[in-house]
Amino acid sequence: MTRRRITNILIKEWRVLFTDTNNTLMVTLVPLLIVGQLLLYVWLAVHFGGDTIISANIFQNAMEKLRQSSSVVAVLPVGDQFKVLLLNQFNFFLLLIPTMIAISFATFSIVEEKLNKSLEALLATPVKTWELLLGKALAGAIPALVITWLCAGVFLLILLGMGWGNLIDMVLNPSWFLSLFLLTPAVAILSFLLGVIGSSRAKDPRGAQNIVLVIIFPVLGLIAVQVTGLVWFTPLLTLALALGIAVSDVIILRVAVRLFQRESIVVSWR
């Protein structure tokens, strides 16, 4: 019954989501544009930044760790090593996609029910709070995940188009795959659960978005620590991070259920 209920919440959410053209564009087009835009920045940095950027102190630590992590990269010209360093950040940049979609959609998930005045009728059914919250989180996380993987594919195609195909082997390392297929799903679910918490605690969509905006900072932090070489995400570290976030998904779901106060949601919201 539980699985059926969660599936039905998923299907309903998707029907509501994809009957709105703006929502559909937001989920599909915007992430693709962001990937394209980021690659453009990388290309601009490499072509017009030249030695000034490559030799910047901020990147030296990371460049050294990159050379240590891969003997293949170590023998490349410094310019190509810099390209690989920047392209390696994309596995973390891709984490921003589910996070960004969560800010937009998960925050509306409960607020919209309240605005529609459908929440009270929903809470009068035998649905359990955790089924409702997990269903809503998955309803956002699954499309966000699919579009993230699609963006990863587009990223590789653009690399080929830019004539950087020779670097693809160095980008597609074990950390890349672990990040894409373990870390990204864990972060997607976490983002949407936090989004749903924000949504259930806020009084309106804007308030919910403000609460959820904090999700983005840890992801930016990951990018910052890697690009500066402060922490180098080896496959083992990436795996540990993914598992850690997966465990926190379960904990956050329990927290979300505790924070979802039916009474204050039904009575206080206007």
Binding site: M1, R4, R5, N8, I11, K12, R15, V16, T19, D20, N116, K117, S118, L119, E120, A121, L122, L123, A124, T125, P126, V127, K128, R262, E263, V266, V267
Partner: protein, 309 residues
């Protein structure tokens, strides 16, 4: 046997008491009209009884199930029509109902959805988006949603509020039909005529439960029964003769009509008519005046307001 039972139910929101010490019982198959002014605690009571919010103190049981324990089980036994219909406007009527039906174990969702869409006269519009429905259609759809799982107890929170007279009548007819099927209905309404038409008993609340009885008993409790005598012409000697009768408690006159309060209307009526005829009055019609429930309600609320002030 009481299917709805509340015992000392109290709800406070901070310093404000929304419902105080509410105790009532509703028998299976009864329709209870739950009346009260705005902010009297009607919706809060319904929310407590349907397990949506918890009481501050006291308890309630619905069909033997505590409302503060295992609410999922409780929700299988009740149907709730909320104050606002509340649907997903971009989804069709069928999709909306199937979604809500999917939460009930062992329910043939598509069959139940078809059954109630047909009953509510919405089958032909089943694939239309709910956003395009009129208020009345949404209300009928909300009623269908409340009934999908065949609940024993229905809570209806102002089901005709904001509807035009035609839509109100449709919803009322539907409630009447549900009542005739033997369902227990807890009907919160502002519409006194509706309550009188549909309900077996009436409860009036203003934070506390003021009264709960049948409409007839409430009238009897608050107003003496009045006999109305229509005369061919008004005649002061007839009025004087009536006033002199020992069992007459009060007499008033409006045109050709006399309004007379009797100690025992059933027993005193023949003697009254004879006295009028003997005094030369020509009686056209003898009827009993029914005080509308509205008068009872207003009197109750005013008395309560005076007591508070």
């Amino acid at each position: 046997m009481a299917i709805i039972e509340a015992c000392g139910l109290t709800k406070k929101f901070g310093e404000t008491t929304a419902v105080e010490d509410l105790s009532l019982q509703v028998e299976e198959g009864d329709v209870l009209g739950f009346l009260g002014p705005n902010g009297a605690g009607k919706t809060t009571t319904i929310r407590m009884l349907s397990g949506i919010i918890a009481s501050t103190s006291g308890y309630a049981t619905i069909a033997g199930q505590r409302t503060d324990d295992n609410v999922e089980k409780l929700h299988e036994a009740i149907g709730l029509l909320t104050e606002s219909p509340g649907f997903y406007d971009r989804l069709s009527a069928r999709c909306n109902l199937e979604f809500f039906a999917s939460f009930y174990p062992g329910l043939n969702a598509s069959a139940q959805v078809e059954k109630y869409l047909r009953i509510m006269g919405l089958w032909d519009r089943r694939e239309d988006r709910v956003g395009g429905f009129s208020k009345g259609m949404k209300q009928r759809l909300a009623l269908a949603r409340a009934l999908l799982h065949e609940p024993r107890v229905l809570f209806l929170d102002e089901p005709t509020s904001g509807l035009d007279p035609e839509a109100s009548q449709e919803v009322r007819q539907m409630i009447g039909r549900l009542s005739s099927e033997g369902r227990t209905i807890f009907l919160s309404t502002h519409n006194l005529a509706e309550a009188e038409l549909l309900c077996h008993r009436i409860a009036v609340i203003r934070t506390r439960l003021l009264v709960m009885d049948t409409g007839e008993e409430l009238r009897r409790r608050f107003f003496h029964r009045q006999v109305v005598i229509q005369l061919e012409t008004s005649d002061t000697s007839v009025v004087e003769a009536v006033k002199n009768l020992a069992f007459v408690q009060d007499v008033s006159e409006e045109g050709n009509e006399l309004f007379i309060e009797l100690a025992d209307p059933k027993k005193n009526r023949p003697e009254l008519v004879r006295a009028i005829v003997e005094a030369g009055g020509r009686v056209l019609e003898v009827t009993e005046r029914q005080h509308p429930l509205e008068e009872v309600y207003l009197r109750l609320i005013r008395e309560e307001a005076n007591r508070d002030s």
